[in-house]
């Protein structure tokens, strides 16, 4: 196969649907009371059901259901009566050689989520299922195909998963990444999962197909597995879309298959031996009964939901008058409430958000006192502090706390009088005629020389922007 060479987005459209598995933050497993914990000695969190011992029976974990309902409501789904079904297939890490999942009747269906850009992505369903154990391959460099033998650890077997199936509404690698980020933010916000891709508590499989722009019908899709980070997700989508376009333009067909993303060589590959024809022989699990959460329970969960990221973005945009896109980073950092409080205390909204976007990356920023923050912003807007000074004061407020006026005084900050600056600028122009000539001839770089001189003379107290403004005024 030739290396993918990219494609013309004017001619081709890529269609993406994501399946995300989130490990739920419960104390015990989905159907048994073995602990749901990680990183410990193999096979220490096992009980009869985890190992699929003869005579064992499943009993559903109420908290896992609560979390599933929370996520379902947060994703605007219909929460409905559901049935647990067995998905039958043989594999050593599947201790019963069937997985208890949900098939025809999932607990959550037909929802959506809103990306920071405002685009709405459909969610087909979000259902509960058991996780598998972990298999490691020994010998042959750890690669599946050359292993001498394999080892199985069932600690993870039976951990509750919520499988969230998105509709194929995504149209770019960027949108796909935004979707996963948003989903993760929601999962974390409702306390359902810690959503860490690198640790495996959030797993993403990606369905990719391509079609010529203007076509209605969807192309044949391939499922990509083994994506372990947002960056890989983007790279895998781009590679796969290009691969498919290449195939079609060279007259071949895209075959529906499952492909494995390889981070090292940057390509997707088919697996050498596909274990099963996909006949999972689903049927309702006769060891479990129907799950039908009451209206009361669902409404209780709904009432207890925190404000979700999309709502927070909208709220911030509306109350600050700033475009929706600018609110994303601030909400992500959890600084929206701080900003709103500062704005309520009288701070200029745009300036407040700018500080939040650029100068409050530190985690401790959420601890800022809103009134103090508002005061700082107002001092800057009133001209009592330059932008640079404001940034310094703010940084100190984050680190040590304190009132902006005192910190500014301690640093000896005070904005300079404009007439003082005018005088200095005039002196410099007179003292450096050659450089002034160059400035008047349009050499933008020479601005730095004049501003630098003023800064030196004022020991950094001048506001660089004001100086530049004065120079241009003098130029005429």
């Amino acid at each position: 196969m030739s290396a993918a060479t990219g494609f013309d987005p004017a001619e081709w459209e890529v269609v993406i649907g994501l399946e995300v598995h989130a490990e739920l933050a419960t104390r015990t497993k989905l159907f048994s009371a073995a602990p749901n914990r990680f990183g410990e000695e193999p096979n220490t969190h096992i009980d009869a059901l985890t190992l699929g011992l003869p005579g064992s029976l499943p009993v559903l974990n109420r908290h896992a259901v609560e979390l599933a309902i929370r996520v379902g409501l947060a994703l605007n789904c219909t929460v409905q009566r559901s049935v647990f079904a067995r998905k039958n297939y043989f594999y050593p890490d599947q201790s019963k050689n069937y997985q208890i999942s949900q098939y025809e009747l999932p607990i959550n269906r037909d929802g959506w989520l809103e990306l920071p850009s405002g685009k709405v992505v459909g969610i087909e369903r979000a259902h509960l299922e058991e996780d598998t154990g972990k298999t490691t391959h020994v010998g042959g460099g750890g690669r599946i195909h050359e292993a001498e033998y394999s080892l199985v650890d069932y600690n993870r077997a039976g951990v509750p998963l919520l499988e969230i199936v998105g509709r194929p509404d995504l149209r770019s690698a960027e949108e796909a990444r935004a979707y996963v980020s948003e989903l993760r933010a929601i999962l974390v916000a409702v306390g359902a999962s810690d959503g860490k891709m690198e640790e495996g508590s959030l797993r993403v499989d990606c369905n990719v197909s391509v079609r010529r722009r203007g076509e209605d019908a969807l192309g044949t899709r391939c499922e990509i597995k083994n994506i372990n980070s947002l960056r890989s997700l983007g790279r895998a989508i781009e590679y796969e879309a290009a691969r498919q376009v290449d195939l079609i333009t060279s007259g071949e067909r895209v075959e529906q298959q499952t492909r494995h993303w390889n981070e090292e060589d940057g390509r997707t590959h088919t697996l050498r031996s596909k274990e099963e024809s996909d006949d999972y022989r689903y049927f309702p699990d006769p060891d479990l009964v129907v799950l039908d959460p009451s209206e009361e329970w669902i409404e209780q969960v709904r009432a207890d939901l925190p404000m979700l990221p999309a709502a927070r973005r909208h709220r911030l945009a509306e109350r600050s008058g700033v475009e929706l896109e600018r609110t994303a980073l601030i909400v992500e950092r959890g600084l929206d409430e701080l900003c709103l409080a500062a704005i309520d205390a009288g701070a200029d909204p745009a300036r407040t958000l700018t500080h939040a976007e650029h100068n409050l990356a530190d985690e401790r920023a959420t601890g800022l006192d809103p009134a103090a923050f508002a005061e700082l912003v107002t001092m800057e807007v009133d001209g009592k502090l330059t932008a640079t000074q404001a940034k310094t004061v703010l940084a100190e407020m984050v680190e040590k706390g304190g009132a902006p006026a005192e910190i500014a005084a301690a640093h000896g900050f005070e904005a300079m009088d404009t007439s003082q600056l005018e005088a200095m600028v005039d002196e410099l122009i007179a003292a450096h005629p050659d450089e002034w000539q160059r400035f008047c001839d349009g050499d933008a770089k020479i601005t730095g020389f004049f501003v630098g001189q003023v800064m030196k003379a004022t020991k950094g107290k001048a506001d660089g922007k004001v100086v530049t403004g004065l120079l241009h005024q003098r130029k005429g």
Partner: protein, 100 residues
């Protein structure tokens, strides 16, 4: 209903069920299973339109337990009865391909 069960179908089913049949067994089992399925022809005659399936005789719903840890099995006791182990894990011949 469908036509009589064939050896090809039985062979496929055996593979799905991880069973290996000798040619003689394949023939014999196909005959025996076909006889059982033939007997099922009496279900064909029933009017099942609009009849709900009954997966379970029990009409319970919402049976759940609290999210409280219970007893775990002793790993050594369990591994002592495992066919092959290594470093606290179950050891199996090489697993090709991936699970579902």
């Amino acid at each position: 209903m469908t036509e009589r069960l064939t050896t090809a179908e039985v062979a496929k089913v055996a593979e799905l069920a991880r069973l290996r049949l000798t040619p003689e067994e394949l023939e014999r089992f196909t005959d025996q299973l076909a006889a059982v399925l033939d007997h099922a022809v009496d279900i064909e005659a029933l009017d099942l339109d609009g009849v709900e399936p009954l997966a379970h005789p029990v009409q319970l719903t919402n049976v759940m337990r609290d999210d409280e840890p219970g007893e775990v099995l002793d790993r050594e006791e369990v591994l002592a009865q495992a066919p092959a182990t290594e470093e606290g894990q179950f050891r199996v011949p090489p697993v090709l391909g991936e699970g579902a």
